[in-house]
């Protein structure tokens, strides 16, 4: 989220699209109801299903899953055509005026440079035209300005085209577009609340970008009540991502080197981020400080200038990422021997269950750390039709380690709004359950002992890992949190007076502003720097003070970066530093510095008309055109899901996202609309949380049994009755479920074809208190988003029939 949950109360219009906040995040959704009740805000829900969010919406419009880009580009087209643009914002704070290289183009659904064999683009033309001074040329009226290219790009998405692609009736689309366009006024703002309804597509990243672009032309980024608000799923998935627990990341969104970057110098050469416009901050210029401090936190005194701060200790990537889809693909090929699942149940949460079971069966060992008895830890156990396996033929050794749960553990979690909140342990762990940090330490120490005793493959990174905790077998949360914040590894002196120590060795750094690239500071995660400094554990702050009731709560817990509550907050004021909306002031220029309710996103003394608000970009502005940063295009374009009920009307030859990665064998496992006529989607229900709450009694009482939802029309056609049993199958698998027949799902008319929708919630498995059941991952295709490989769970094809119930 660019803003926070509590900031939503400041909005005038909430658009829930690609998510279902009322069901998945009820307590966050309260701020929508507050905005409605106290500001007269309106709520729009655009969804294939009439959800519980829609139940309290002012306006609901149906849409076919996987066509959000067409819808949103249609809205942009409407705004541009009707001059509903926050021009001052667009001209000052976005790259709209910049000129793009000659040769860039878009035709037949493809951008310049497509290589069909590689399923990839040569992106050399997707960039700015630079002037002789090395800066980007800027002229909004130029035919190749970002604005003019964008205007042309979106012009095809007329209301008629939107109806044809999305199935949204034209009048409903126009009503939504009109309501949204009103927020181009500087004194009206809109917030976008989205979640996996946008990410779980083969073009998930572009779905989100598309709304971000719309928000930029409406001037809604960086303002109170605006923003792009990703409703993260899990309690600390934001934290784990921030801390870089991903294949290609280091903490704080630094990146793992690839194998072409053999040395630190080469690695740094592509991460210098020289400003592209005059006077811009281009904050990533500090990259090396963060990187070196990270290396010091990892390997302490073993990371020295002489060994390039242990650069070689880091593994180097040979592919863009070893994401979960690639790893299961490799496992399926027999190329993975060992796998750890820490609080993760991939047997139910990764796509194509059949393939997953086959893959896990090829492992030599599987280690599962979890507070609950997961299906993954029991993938080898026969549970009848719910897990039909032959245990005897599975040679995987499985080790299940009991862990504590939240109630028994202390530490911080990062919420969707980037707040790091500390919590305390209140219960004794059951049985012999242990903290995850204890388990990880034990594994490390035992592995280290084996290497010390026996030697072995390159053991330095293990032997020299900085593990100086009071009890190395069990580091405390405080010790770890202090390490993440960062500290001085040596006395740091005043650059003007070498005798004056400004930060003594061992002291906590105040924030990332003092991190250094010479090895004198260590910091686990630079964006978390400031969370636990010499002022104490800021994450444990509990003051409910909220000056002028802005919803910022600046002294409740701690927000990254540097306790900033709204990202890009400088954009809340115009080019002269005057707030766009006096009733919703956030920051303003008082003549000499920035002041207001939040920590400014730029140097407090950076002049408003000189330094742009988007300091992480070398341009200092936000990007309507992303240059080469996204694999599937600098602008979003409509692509159908890989399994779509209709062909792509704009580019009939293209199936799915043309650059999404498809592994050998998986393409053949995609079904087509002839064989599988119904458009399925998967989702959560408010009564459950993924595959956890089926272990908890009361949630199991509230939704006891796996079901699928269909509309009355399809039910009638197929002779299906509510409460009866159905079989749903795709090219990859088949499930049995109870049927819920509802008015809330209606068939859509897309390109002259009636599209029926089948809704498949995801909470059932074969462990826990609920009735045994299946999940949508028995059906879903093995393909991910072109940029970040999030599996396409939200749009796929199935067939359905009525059956008699299971005999059991």
């Amino acid at each position: 989220m660019t803003n926070s949950w509590t900031d939503i109360k400041n909005t005038d219009l909430v658009v829930i699209m690609g998510g279902n906040a009322a069901e998945a995040h009820p307590c966050g959704f309260k701020w929508v109801t507050e905005a409605k009740a106290n500001r007269g805000a309106k709520l729009i829900v655009v969804d294939p299903r009439f959800t519980r969010s829609a139940a309290v919406a002012d306006y609901y419009a149906p849409i076919r899953q996987g066509t959000d880009i067409a819808f949103l580009l249609g809205v942009m087209n409407y705004c541009i055509a009707n001059n509903k643009v926050q021009w001052e914002y667009v001209k000052a704070f976005t790259n709209a005026p910049y000129i793009i290289k000659e040769g860039f183009g878009y035709q037949d659904g493809l951008f310049t440079g497509y290589d069909e064999a590689k399923r990839d683009y040569n992106k050399s033309t997707w960039d700015y035209e630079l002037g002789a001074d090395g800066y980007v040329k800027s002229d909004i009226d130029h035919p190749r300005s970002v604005w003019n290219l964008m205007k042309k790009h979106v012009s095809v998405y007329t209301p008629e085209m939107v109806e044809r692609i999305c199935g949204t009736p034209k009048d409903k689309f126009l009503k939504v577009a009109e309501m949204i366009s009103e927020c181009s006024s500087p004194t009206k703002t809109m917030t976008s609340m989205y979640a996996l309804g946008w990410t779980q597509h083969s073009k998930g990243s572009q779905n989100i970008r598309c709304m971000a672009m719309l928000q930029l032309i409406l001037g809604n980024i960086g303002v109170r009540g605006g923003g792009m608000n990703a409703l993260r799923g899990h309690s600390n998935i934001q934290g784990l991502t921030d801390l870089g627990l991903m294949s290609n990341l280091l903490p704080g969104y630094l990146t793992i080197p690839n194998e072409k970057e053999a040395t630190l110098d080469v690695y740094m050469s592509t991460r210098g981020f020289k400003p592209l416009r005059p006077n811009q901050m281009s904050y990533w210029q500090n990259y090396k400080k963060f990187f070196v401090s990270f290396q010091k936190a990892m390997w302490g005194s073993a990371a020295t200038p002489e060994n390039n701060f242990a650069y070689d200790y880091l593994p180097k990537l040979d592919v863009p990422s070893y994401d979960v889809l690639r790893v299961f693909e490799l496992m399926h090929q027999g190329k993975v021997n060992g796998y750890f699942c820490q609080g993760f149940n991939p047997l139910l949460s990764a796509p194509n269950r059949k393939k997953l079971t086959a893959a896990l069966s090829k492992l030599k060992y599987l280690v599962v750390m979890d507070p609950l008895q997961t299906e993954t830890a029991r993938f080898w156990q026969n549970h009848g039709e719910y897990n039909e396996v032959n245990s005897g033929s599975i040679q995987t050794e499985v080790i299940e380690l009991p862990t504590t749960c939240f109630a028994e553990d202390e530490g911080s979690l990062t919420n969707s709004g980037r707040w790091l909140q500390w919590h305390w342990a209140g219960g004794t762990p059951p049985g012999e359950a242990k903290h995850d940090s204890w388990i990880m330490s034990q594994i490390h120490l035992r592995l280290k002992a084996l290497y010390q005793k026996e030697g072995g493959a390159f053991s330095d990174p293990i032997l020299k890992l900085d593990w100086r905790y009071k009890d190395p077998g069990s580091p405390t949360s405080e010790e770890l949190a202090k390490e993440v914040n960062g500290y001085a590894t040596e006395d740091i002196t005043d650059p003007n007076d070498a005798t004056k120590v400004v930060l003594a060795k061992g002291k906590q750094v105040v924030s990332f502003a003092v991190l250094r690239d010479d090895g004198k500071t260590a910091c686990g995660c630079w964006i978390y720097s400031g969370s636990f400094n010499e002022a104490g554990n800021n994450m444990a702050r509990r003051s409910t003070n909220d000056p002028d009731s802005t919803g910022a709560y600046p002294t409740w817990a701690w927000s990254w970066p540097v306790n900033r509550r709204i990202l890009y907050n400088r954009a809340s004021a115009d080019i002269n530093g005057k707030p766009w909306d006096d009733s919703r002031k956030l920051l303003w220029w008082d003549g000499s510095k920035w002041t207001g309710y939040d920590v400014p996103d730029i140097l407090p003394t950076a002049k408003p008309d000189v330094v742009g608000p988007f300091i992480m970009n070398p341009e200092g502005t936000a990007r309507l055109f992303t240059r080469g940063l996204m694999r599937d295009g600098p602008f979003p374009a409509h692509y159908e899901p890989f399994e779509a009920p209709v062909v792509n009307v704009l580019a009939p030859k293209i199936r799915g996202n043309p650059v999404a990665r498809v592994f050998k064998g998986d393409m053949e496992q995609f079904g087509d609309a002839k064989e599988f006529p119904y458009a399925a989607t998967s989702y959560r229900l408010t009564e459950h949380f993924h595959f956890w709450t089926k272990h908890a009694h009361n949630p199991a009482v509230m939704q006891p049994e796996f079901f699928v939802e269909i509309g009355e029309e399809l039910a009638k056609q197929k002779g299906i009755t509510g409460g009866g049993w159905v079989r749903v199958w795709s090219k990859r698998g088949s499930v049995k479920a109870k049927a819920v027949v509802t008015k809330r799902i209606k068939p859509l008319q897309c390109d002259g074809k009636t599209v029926h929708i089948v809704g498949i919630p995801l909470h059932w498995g074969f462990m826990g208190e609920t009735k045994k059941g299946f999940g949508p991952n028995s059906l879903t295709p093995y393909v991910g988003d072109a940029n970040i490989e999030t599996p396409e769970y939200k749009a796929f094809l199935v067939d359905i029939e009525s059956i008699t119930g299971p005999t059991a």
């Binding site: 991903m246 995987t396 009991p402 749960c405 939240f406």
Partner: protein, 199 residues
């Protein structure tokens, strides 16, 4: 941070005034009357309160856990009730159906209690000690790493990666656990490292 402090902060906060007026308006004076026989005795009397955060979604609602026994005093603590934390700016004491049932996951019948190993081809888990389990994990890791570690790629570039073992990290552990996990996993050269952000 202890409870007393946070309670004082709450009382200073703006919400205290509101809560106070509501209470006052309900006409509850300070008289101490006997319970009526229809009314159940107060079930949270003399329990220990601990502040925590809901483990589910990323709204991160504040919760108060009520336990018999105080962990901080070194006692065994049994959580008997969980309720929203009214001080919390986001949830204001409210909880969703999952959060309201947090107690049921803490005491789920299907919690893992002991380390277990399932041998190849077996149809059951066998309980083992932590030492046996952890030594086994370390041994399996080392054998696989020593056998499959790639120090240099085909071009002779130092790559120091281990691709035959992967690690899927949690989504509800603390940042501190995540950091400890990061250190341990990366130090081995594992690249097949991912979390729940995608699904």
């Amino acid at each position: 941070m202890n409870m007393e402090l946070s309670r004082r902060q709450f009382m200073k906060g703006a919400s205290a005034g509101i809560a106070g007026t509501t209470l006052g308006a309900l006409g509850f004076g300070d008289i101490e009357a006997a319970y009526a026989s229809s009314i159940r005795p107060w079930k949270l009397a003399n329990l220990t309160e601990t502040r925590n955060t809901c483990t589910y979604c990323s709204v991160a609602c504040g919760i108060i856990m009520y336990s018999k026994g105080d962990l901080k005093k070194g006692e065994k603590a049994d959580i008997v009730h969980i309720e929203g934390d009214p001080d919390h700016p986001t949830n204001r004491g409210t909880l969703c159906p999952k959060g309201a049932a947090l107690l049921d996951i803490v005491h789920a019948k299907t919690r893992t209690l002991y380390p277990q190993i399932r041998k190849p081809g077996s149809d059951k888990f066998e309980r083992v000690s932590w030492d046996v389990a952890l030594d086994r994990v370390a041994r399996l890791m080392k054998d696989d790493r020593d056998k499959n570690f790639i120090a240099k790629n085909g071009d002779g570039v130092t790559v120091n990666r281990w691709l035959t073992t992967g690690f899927l990290a949690a989504s509800a552990t603390t940042n501190e656990t995540a950091w400890a996990t990061y250190k341990v996993v990366r130090s081995t050269g594992i690249l097949a490292f991912d979390n729940q952000a995608r699904v």
